[in-house]
């Protein structure tokens, strides 16, 4: 406990090397970007139209969709793993992003079809007639033909793309403002986010919601005006998804690397203490919640054109819970953990629920994985939570031999006279 000369401390700071570049301070970012680039290149080389044809177009789509799921998982990790807000509603933002791009895709494609069919008519159609025709094409399934207000920007590519950011962002901003301002935390906040998701999905199920009720939006895999076959389009979307994932990863890594990361991890660990340091905890939570909602929206906007269809069932509360499970299994509080969790669990999940996994015959009972997969997943979640809170990502610590001293509640140190935490509490 020497009280050294402050001047000496100052000299030390001056000679200390300037901050190293971001990428050197966060080696995992570089490793991840290289892996992602190799993966994308590999899939391209093995694809049907650009390479050897070893990977089917539908599998390319599955991989592209998986990249989008990784992106939303990163957002979940930022809001939950780093900031401690267990949001069980981020799939709602994901779905909203999908709906926003779906509206433009459907409108623009229907417009082309309608224009082509009307071009043969002897009298050229008026713009109003074209709009009416598009309306009855799109909304015929729900017995309507007028365009609801929510479609007012669907004819403009730019505006509708902005809505991908604005709609999830605004919903998160309003919801978060109400929830954080009244200091709803923990389980109550999780329940509230579930309620939001449920309300949104029930609303979308209605035929007069203006988004085609339970039919949802379909045919999203067809890009308007693009003649290229799906085998090409799927690769383009894979590239787009990989790029979005890379940018999302960089953004989140940058956000958590500096003082902002310190503050939100502080909020996760001891919210009250952060307040007494003078930080407005609510503002930080709101920022993180909204930012991650926007990322989720972008992920959804890339996912659903690859899926081809979006309907309200996609926004069911359970989807957001799966998202939390992926992040927990992958390892929260580390970005690559979220990526590993989302990729691994969603791919395995596709395999099991797709009926490809061989059933196990126990003689007295046949285990059909389609039915039993959820049980396995639930069990895995419980086991990981109990015995490996660091998740799959924790293996990286073992590999790199990096020690993460985590002595919460353990002996406070070998120093003479130091007390145990319990004694200190009196």
């Amino acid at each position: 406990m020497s009280v050294s000369d402050p001047q000496a401390g100052f000299a030390q700071a001056i000679t200390r090397p300037r901050h190293r570049p971001f990428i050197l301070r966060n080696p995992s970012v570089g490793v991840f970007l290289i892996c992602l680039a190799l993966f994308t290149l590999g899939v391209t080389v093995l694809s049907e139209d650009y390479g050897l044809g070893l990977i089917s177009t539908s599998f390319v789509k599955t991989l592209g969709k998986t990249l989008c799921l990784c992106l939303v998982a990163i957002a979940m990790d930022l809001v939950w793993g780093y900031c401690g807000i267990l949001s069980l509603g981020h799939f709602a933002f994901f779905g909203l992003g999908g709906y926003m791009i779906g509206m433009w895709l459907m409108y623009a494609r229907t417009e082309l079809i309608v224009a082509a069919s009307m071009a043969e008519a002897p009298i050229p159609p008026t713009p109003a007639e074209i709009t009416d025709a598009i309306g009855s094409q799109i909304f015929g399934v729900v017995g309507a033909s007028d365009f609801p207000v929510v479609w007012m920007f669907a004819d403009s590519f730019v505006l509708q793309m902005l809505l991908i950011l604005a709609v999830p962002g605004l919903l998160a901003l309003i919801f978060g403002w109400l929830a954080f301002r009244s200091r709803v935390t923990g389980v109550y906040l999780s329940i509230l986010t579930q309620a939001m998701t449920l309300a949104l999905s029930l609303y979308l199920f209605q035929n007069d919601s203006g988004l085609r009720g339970n039919n949802g939006l379909s045919g999203l895999q067809n890009l308007p005006g693009v003649q290229a076959p799906q085998s090409l389009v799927s690769i383009w979307f894979l590239w787009g998804s990989a790029l979005a994932l890379a940018l999302g990863y960089l953004l989140v890594a940058w956000v958590v690397s500096g003082k902002f990361g310190s503050v939100i991890r502080g909020i996760r660990d001891d919210e009250a203490r952060v307040r007494f340091l003078g930080y407005s905890v609510e503002g930080y939570k709101l920022f993180v919640f909204t930012l991650t909602a926007v990322i989720a929206g972008i992920a959804g906007a890339l996912y659903y054109p690859q899926a081809g269809i979006i309907n309200p069932a996609e926004i069911a509360p359970i989807a957001s819970i799966y998202l939390a499970v992926w992040v927990a299994i992958g390892g929260r509080g580390r970005i690559y953990g979220a990526v590993i969790g989302a990729a691994f669990v969603s791919l395995v999940s596709t395999w099991f629920t797709g009926g490809q996994a061989p059933s196990v015959d126990l003689g007295f009972y046949r285990i059909d994985w389609v039915d039993w997969w959820l049980v396995v997943l639930g069990l895995a979640f419980v086991l990981v939570t109990l015995f490996a809170p660091k998740g799959i990502g924790g293996l990286v610590d073992l590999l790199t031999w990096r020690r993460h001293p985590d002595r919460h509640g353990a002996d406070l140190g070998p120093d003479q006279g130091s007390l145990r935490e319990e004694e200190a509490e009196t």
Binding site: M1, R265, G266, R275, F276, G278, S280, L419, E421
Partner: protein, 246 residues
């Protein structure tokens, strides 16, 4: 004497139990004050009120030259006004390094956007090292706060307080769980801090209070029992009865 903080006629009850009862208290801009009192006297609750954690049922809490009321402000706003607080049990961010703990506390803009784009410059780093030296933790800067001993955590928390550069420091039982020499160092830090700002120290230990050598306020059942030098209050009949005579 000008007043930095004035608490007057404040009462708080928890489920009918009056933890603070018509308490009045004032402190000047560069003053060291010790608050003593038996367990449950309301010392921590008093700090909760000043820092905005607990809202009093009645009374006024007036702050600074402009005499603003603290009662309408949020905890973070009060902290930004210049009131720093050290908790009874050391609360540092165990998962983060000593350096990051101090950097977070450093007096800098606190808004989300300012913090997002903040990159530490050399004066900030120098200030962190200076603070670390003052609390005897310069060698521990890269270590995780969770690895520190109990006494070191107490110091780190005091260091974080100093980093905030508050006008008023509220320190709850800083010497709990410290060795004798650690206590001496703590007294030094607190007395030095009190040269430029107001410091209120809650402490159980009489020896520690004696070494602080300052005006003492005795709290009992939520109100002030006596005030004055340590010798003066320890001769007070009531004080002896409720506190020292135990």
């Amino acid at each position: 004497m000008s007043t930095l903080l004035e608490v007057s006629g404040v009462s708080v009850s928890f489920d009918g139990f009056k933890a603070i009862n018509n308490l009045s208290f004032r402190i000047g801009p560069a003053e060291l004050r010790a608050i003593i009192g038996p367990n449950g006297a309301g010392k921590t609750t008093f700090m909760d009120i000043v820092t905005g954690k607990t809202r009093p049922d009645e009374g006024r809490v007036i702050w600074g030259e402009r005499s603003v009321s603290l009662l309408r402000m949020s905890e973070s706003r009060i902290a930004q006004e210049g009131i720093g607080r050290k908790f009874q049990r050391p609360t540092v961010f165990e998962d983060q390094s000593v350096h990051d703990n101090l950097l977070m506390a450093l007096k800098k803009p606190r808004g989300p956007f300012a913090v997002l784009f903040y990159r530490p410059e050399s004066p900030d780093e120098a200030r962190v090292e200076e603070l670390a030296a003052e609390i005897g933790l310069e060698a521990a800067l890269p270590r995780k706060a969770g690895e520190l001993s109990h006494g070191q955590k107490q110091w780190l928390e005091i260091g974080m307080l100093l980093a905030q550069e508050p006008k008023l420091l509220l320190v709850d039982e800083p010497a709990a769980g410290m060795t004798l020499s650690e206590r001496e160092h703590t007294t030094d830090i607190l007395r030095r801090a009190a040269e430029t700002r107001a410091v209120v120290v809650v402490e159980h230990d009489m020896e520690f209070v004696r070494r602080l050598d300052c005006k003492v306020t005795v709290l009992h059942e939520g109100s002030v029992l006596a005030e004055g030098t340590l010798d003066h209050v320890t001769q007070n009949r009531q004080v002896i009865d409720v506190y020292l005579g135990r």
